[in-house]
């Protein structure tokens, strides 16, 4: 009995170790790739994502950039984190990780319920996935990676996903209703409605990307300026002068605001906007009206049969 239990324990711990490796290894791989590919430079280095690979493709070469690789690595690591938190679930919460996992799930369900209503139950997985991926992507620049959210292509991908979801939800109310929605309040507004329809993904993508990237640009500018300043002020001291001493301190404070606070805030806002847009695409009243109409039609059919 004890032998068996010990064997199970050992297997459990081995799986745990594997999952922790799945969490950490992708990020380490990204750091190694970054170290291998970064060119040497001394000036202000404000650039977009590095290009790792260019694959030949019919129209345009298919480009594999740093942000793509990082975002896939972050997805893998997030998957590892989720598997780790839910590994060895028991009916009654005993371990710390199960408590954390339950807390996360409860919070997400509460958030979705409060903002979208009972009708959209099941969306908490999407919202939690978007929030976690966005938060982890923004936080990944704390370990020196290029934050994937600082690349417009990544956030645009998410925004297009949300746009497709919103359109699909609108189509639930019927295709004609969807078309009719463009001519409201009067038919003259149709072109403006079209523009506002397509401004949703653009604004969502640009909001997230602009916040993260502007933080990165400001951080890089301040860091370079402080390096120059310390060379100017302390450069005449023999040994100490070679170390950019003034770079200590201020960039860390900036990083707390731009990387941690702003990144988490943008993750929350992106998830919040997803919820609001999806739930606004098919409002409660329209849904209730539709249910009523359906019930009446059913009744009539039953009456006609009788």
């Amino acid at each position: 009995m004890t032998e068996e239990k010990r064997g199970g324990d050992r297997r459990f711990r081995r799986t745990d170790r594997l999952l922790i490796a799945l969490m950490i290894l992708p990020l380490l791989g990204c750091i190694v790739l970054k170290v291998l590919f970064t060119p040497e430079s001394e000036g202000v280095d404000i650039s977009g994502a590095m290009i790792f690979l260019e694959l030949p493709a019919p129209v345009q070469p298919l480009v594999i950039t740093e942000s793509q690789v990082n975002s896939w690595a972050i997805m893998l690591s997030l998957l590892g984190l989720c598997l780790y938190l839910t590994h060895g679930l028991k009916e009654k919460a005993e371990t710390k990780r199960q408590l954390i996992a339950e807390w996360i799930v409860e919070k997400c369900e509460g958030l979705v319920n409060a903002n979208m209503g009972e009708r959209f139950a099941g969306y908490e997985y999407l919202v939690a996935a978007i929030m976690g991926l966005s938060a982890l992507s923004s936080l990944s620049c704390l370990i020196g990676l290029f934050a994937p959210t600082g690349d417009v292509n990544i956030t645009a991908g998410w925004a297009i996903l949300v746009f497709a979801l919103v359109t699909w939800t609108k189509l639930q109310g019927g295709f004609l209703n969807y078309l009719k929605g463009f001519t409201e309040p009067i038919p003259v507004f149709t072109p403006m409605n079209f523009i506002s329809e397509f401004s949703l993904p653009v604004s969502m993508a640009f909001r997230h990307y602009g916040n993260v990237m502007s933080g990165a640009v400001i951080s890089a500018l301040v860091g370079t300026a402080l390096r120059g300043l310390s060379r100017l002020v302390l450069g005449w001291i023999p040994v100490v002068g070679t170390i950019p001493l003034l770079q200590i301190g201020l960039p860390a404070i900036l990083s707390i605001y731009f990387d941690v606070f702003s990144g988490l805030m943008q993750a929350f806002i992106f998830a919040m906007l997803t919820m609001l847009n999806v739930s606004g695409a098919f409002p409660q009243e329209a849904w209730e009206k539709r249910q009523q109409k359906k019930a009446i039609r059913k009744q009539r059919a039953a009456m006609a049969k009788a």
Binding site: I46, R207, Y209, N211, S214, V217, F268
Partner: protein, 97 residues
Amino acid sequence: MVELAMGIMLGLCGVGAGIALIAGIGPGIGEGQAVAAACEAIGRQPEAKSDVTSTMIMGCAIAETTGLYGLIIGILLIFVAPGIFSGVLKDTVLALK
């Protein structure tokens, strides 16, 4: 001649970026008003603080969008546009020759 054209192009890119960032005025005023109203609301109803705060942050994020459009245009004008425009300029000069 090409140098002059290049200089004008780079300078105008910088000026354009500066003008684009005037867009920051609007969100600044708007967000200030939003926060002022939120402070008032919290003062009147301290128990609704968390609700007011989250709604305010949401509204601020949406109001910020116009400013971010300006910022992105400014950044594109400084970091991306000169490369594209100098390529166009070179092509034109070569075509003229």
